[in-house]
Amino acid sequence: MTNFLKSNGVVMLIFATVVLTAPIWLAPIGASYPDLLQKFAIFGIFAIGFNILFGLTGYLSFGHATFLGVGSYTAVWAFKLLSMNVIPAILLGTAMSGVFALAIGYLSLQRSGIYFSILTLAFAQMSYSLAYSVLTPITNGETGLQLSQQDPRIIDGLFGVPVEAGLPSTHLFNISMSGLSGFYFCAVILIIAFYVSLKIFRSPFGLKLRAIKSNQTRMKYTGFNTRPYLLSSFVISGMYAGLAGSLMAVTDPLAGAERMQWTASGEVVLMTILGGAGTLVGPLLGATLIKYFENIFSALNLSELHKIFDGLPDTLENIVVAIINPFVGEGWHLMLGALFMIIVIFLPGGIMEGVSRAFKWIKRILGFDKKQPVVTSNVTPKGEEK
């Protein structure tokens, strides 16, 4: 029974149902409007990909926002030069970030451990500087890369797509990418991305990545050359980030350097560990939660807080508001930082670990826990039979 529930088909069926019905079941908590749903899907893809590197191999990259940015820039260029159809944009965005990931990964993986983290961080800062000022002709620097009416759009031109009066908008074979159809497009991509991640988790390749995390030295003496494994996983996760970045450009066709900042890299790390690094659905869960609460808390301000706690006695109201205020609105980052620390200190396995602990606890309370026999091979020592 459990085996059936864990088979790829069933897992994917459940996953697809949950994702595609999200606009319905997220409605009661006010998270069912397309913009936010798209964010969930896009950052979910980003975190699922990051997890393939960090969760499986334990290599902590602080530079994955670079690939997100590369994906966005490439996608916007595809919109400018080729077509407003999203297919070339996301294919090129993913491929280009794969190329970047190959180069940066190759160099960073010359070292392991802390060195690796520092190197990825340095590369990310370098890419940010490049995008922000040095490569202005390509990235349009501070202003960010935008569409314009003068863009050539060669493919669209070939097919005789009429030039509209305003800026054109993105589409998938003339299905608009705004509103709910935009979400469903991202959702389908998310489902595919999740499926690929599931396959990797359950492949010999995935097992070897986990073995590298567990004991890399042993892997080498077992006969594996670990570096190409790490590099493949780095490139795959970089391509996920590029895919997420190009989807951002699909929903809103502009790209700016701030998408590549270290704060963005830190955010995906937090999403992954909040949900549970190394678990299948944890990173997606973490991404959704963070984007949901960001949406709520960063919109709050002092007067709204007073409104919320209006029912409390005045003094109490003032105290509660004073405590909460630094964490909302502009202070949302303070909340992220604090959350970061709390998770690492108290729940290194993330929410998924919390859930499995809770399940064990409930089982014990309800008495479902079968007493497991103490197992050890010493029960029948072969030596004594002789």
């Binding site: 010359q110 802390i114 060195y115 983290s117 190197l119 340095a122 270290w262 980052h333 303070l334």
Partner: protein, 338 residues
């Protein structure tokens, strides 16, 4: 020639800050085995010690402005001036150098609280966890500072006496027009003094010898047995004070804002990597070297040939060094190979 001299001085200044931060990073990493991503935030806190001290000294009262006679005008006058007149003004003028005295105990306290309250529990955890928790801490510190001091850089001027420029051209017998800000020269001397003190401390005290032995071979630190815990706290405290003082003195050069720490942290990490992880001398040498390189790259003549090179030169050098000498300039075999 003159321009080159100025660039070297500029570079040494920046390098001084890199070196002081990298020194602390190397110390904590070498002895405690902890990667501290909050070290840049400590540098930033140091700079804000100067800001806070300046704010305290200039704590003001509204008084009637006698110079305006048409109507009743009010101005802010610091209590110090009201009480002590010119002596008070002089004290305010010297806010930044005086705040060193204020910063040392404050930074030491912050360091001890950080080590005892948080870092201590992460000695046995994986490096990834250490990075993550200190990264979170860096964000928290940064955001708290922003909450209280706002997002804009806060000017913290040096004392009037040294606010001008030194005529180094005349002094060196070169061009008379060649001048350089006094405060930057002071900063250079200051970082040299701090670096020498730290090295002397490590070289000539028993405590320092234990620390150096520990950096060469971390296992032995454990074997020494005698109150390793307290030594760890002291080492962390020293690193905190060094980074903090670097921040205090840098405040007049770069008006402090809440995210200056992260900018310096990334560069200091690169410095540590280039210098060779675990090598104090390497950290200092690489700090000055990269500072000077960056400064040369930002010369207009260089930028005309390679636009934007000043933004990325440090990273480029790091990549090249890493490929040619994976252990950095002065890294030794066997020290933190993984």
């Amino acid at each position: 020639m003159d321009a080159i001299l100025i660039q070297i001085l500029n570079g040494l200044d920046k390098g001084g800050a890199y070196a002081l931060i990298a020194l602390g990073l190397t110390l904590t990493f070498g002895t405690l085995g902890v990667v501290n991503f909050a070290h840049g935030a400590i540098f930033m806190l140091g700079a804000f010690c100067a800001v806070l001290f300046q704010n305290i000294l200039t704590f003001s009262k509204k008084v009637k402005d006698e110079s305006i006679t048409f109507f009743d005008a009010y101005k802010e006058q610091p209590y110090l001036e009201i009480w002590w007149g010119d002596t008070g003004s002089a004290i305010i003028d010297y806010a930044v150098p005086l705040s060193i005295l204020f910063a040392i105990p404050v930074m030491l306290l912050i360091g001890v609280i950080m080590e005892r309250g948080l870092i201590k529990h992460f000695y046995k955890r994986e490096h990834a966890d250490q990075i993550l928790v200190t990264f979170g801490l860096a964000i928290v510190i940064q955001e708290i500072i922003r909450h209280f001091f706002g997002a804009n850089p806060i000017p913290t001027p040096p004392p009037d006496v040294v606010a001008g420029s030194a005529a180094i051209g005349t002094f060196l017998g070169l061009n008379d027009n060649l001048v350089y800000p006094w405060w930057r020269l002071i900063y250079l001397a200051f970082s040299a003094i701090i670096i020498f003190s730290v090295f002397a401390f490590l070289k000539f005290t028993t405590f320092g010898m234990v620390v150096r032995a520990g950096m060469a071979d971390r296992e032995t630190v454990g074997l020494l047995g005698i109150n390793v815990q307290r030594r760890f706290t002291i080492v962390f405290g020293i690193a905190t004070v060094v980074a903090g003082l670097a921040g205090v003195m840098y405040a007049p050069i770069l008006p402090p804002d809440y995210h200056m720490g992260m900018d310096f942290l990334v560069l200091s990490f690169v410095v540590v990597v280039v210098g060779g992880m675990g090598s104090l001398g390497g950290a200092v040498a690489a700090g000055f070297l990269l500072g000077v390189l960056q400064s040369f790259a930002s010369m207009n003549e260089v930028k005309a040939i390679l636009p934007g090179i000043d933004q990325i030169i440090i990273y480029l050098v790091a990549v090249i060094i890493l490929l040619v000498r994976p252990r950095g300039l002065m890294g030794r075999e066997g020290v933190m190979d993984d």
